[in-house]
Amino acid sequence: MLTKRIIPCLDIKDGRTVKGVNFVDLRDAGDPVELATRYTLEGADELVFLDISATEQKRKTLADLVLRVAAALDIPFTVGGGISSVEDAKILLQNGADKVSINSAAVRRPELINELADAFGSQCVVVAIDAKEIEGQWFVHLVGGKVPTPIDLMDWAREAEIRGAGEILFTSMDHDGTKNGFANATLLELTQTVNIPIIASGGAGNTKHFVDAFKRGKADAALAASVFHFCEISIPQLKETLKKENIAIRIIK
């Protein structure tokens, strides 16, 4: 049976993780490879690296990091941040990334989704969508949520699927950082709108929130950052809880 995925997200700036982590046994909490290895051993099913320093001159740093991650990791990982062309994606995929995540660039130029899917296959293309609820309707936002658009979340998800997205990473800006749980009703609507996997993001605060994202939101995967970085939730315990709730999950022995 296909299992639900737990995905820690690492924010990367200039080749280092930011926001900090407080794992006691890490020699260097800023080293993405060390942190990624730690999550892999704990049972993370996949990892996302989001480069928030993604400017042209930083591309090389990111490509080098991707290569180091690929050398150390034996689970899949996605890289996102500032990817706006087939060339951008190619260097990351050639260095060992399994998927690339695109966001603002895809909204500005939706053909990018087709181009990436044609060049590398849909399985490589994650369309990340940041959205916010305004008077009962969800609107897509750009540039890390700073710039609102008139685009409806469901319309955009549908278009992304048609253009060849292999997966959607949906972040609710209303829930992100609140630790009050994922946007389950909207997740459910998304899973009924498109027939590609949905990664839930934004709002994880405790293990029950993950149970809800899978049971009520019907998400295929759930992503979180700080609750994992600050050891508020341990991945092995989270997975045991999910298993007890009869959610299909990969348990490492």
């Binding site: 299992t3 099913d45 399985q123």
Partner: protein, 193 residues
């Protein structure tokens, strides 16, 4: 022992090379027919769309070479699908080694299947020392149905083949290079054949 990876621009090869390096094997990426013919082990990876992958194979003549190989050959993901007679993806004729018609998952499930699925097998050959109902990482929209040469199966919209074997040709639908310790063990088993 010489291990080669068939080079036809088939996606993420780095992870596969890194996995093999963990096993102490440096696998050369090549399109060279002579190198491939003389290798002890041949790995035939694959990702992306089947018809364009097949076109690339044809452009280098590898479509004629691969079926003639006598040493152990391991097809991975689309590589395994291309070992089959034909695939619904792009209505593509395959290499005709494994007697199967590759089909698309029905829309009753999410397509692509993406993630870790349980794999049931008999613990033989590639699966020696790997627990039954192990987890492997899969990402695919097309599948090989259960056939007489199926050696492992998973369930997604019903049971289907995630590993097949015919003579010296082995195929796995999952990505062993992305499937943690069990995946690495499987690669090790292949190298030991």
């Amino acid at each position: 022992m010489k291990t080669v990876i068939v080079d036809y621009d088939a996606g993420n090869i780095k992870s596969l090379q890194f996995s093999l390096e963990r096993l102490g094997v440096h696998a050369q990426l090549t399109t060279d027919a002579e190198l491939i013919s003389k290798a002890d082990k041949v790995i035939f990876p694959g990702q992306g769309e089947a018809s364009s992958a097949m076109k690339k194979l044809k452009s280098t003549g590898l479509d004629l070479l691969i079926p003639k190989l006598k040493q152990p050959v391991l097809g991975i993901c689309v590589g395994m699908q291309l070992l089959c007679d034909k695939t619904e993806e792009g209505d593509t004729k395959g290499l005709g080694i494994i007697p199967a018609h590759v089909r698309r998952f029905p829309n009753t499930v999410k397509v692509p299947q993406m993630g870790w699925n349980t794999v049931s097998h008999q613990g033989e050959n590639l699966f020696k020392g790997i627990e039954n109902e192990c987890y492997m990482y899969l990402v695919h929209s097309y599948f090989v149905p259960i056939i007489s040469t199926t050696t492992a199966r998973s369930d997604y919209a019903g049971l289907y083949s995630v590993a097949v074997q015919k003579n010296n040709f082995y195929g796995v639908q999952f990505h062993p290079e992305k499937s943690s310790k069990d995946g690495l063990r499987l690669l090790e088993n292949f190298l030991k054949i």
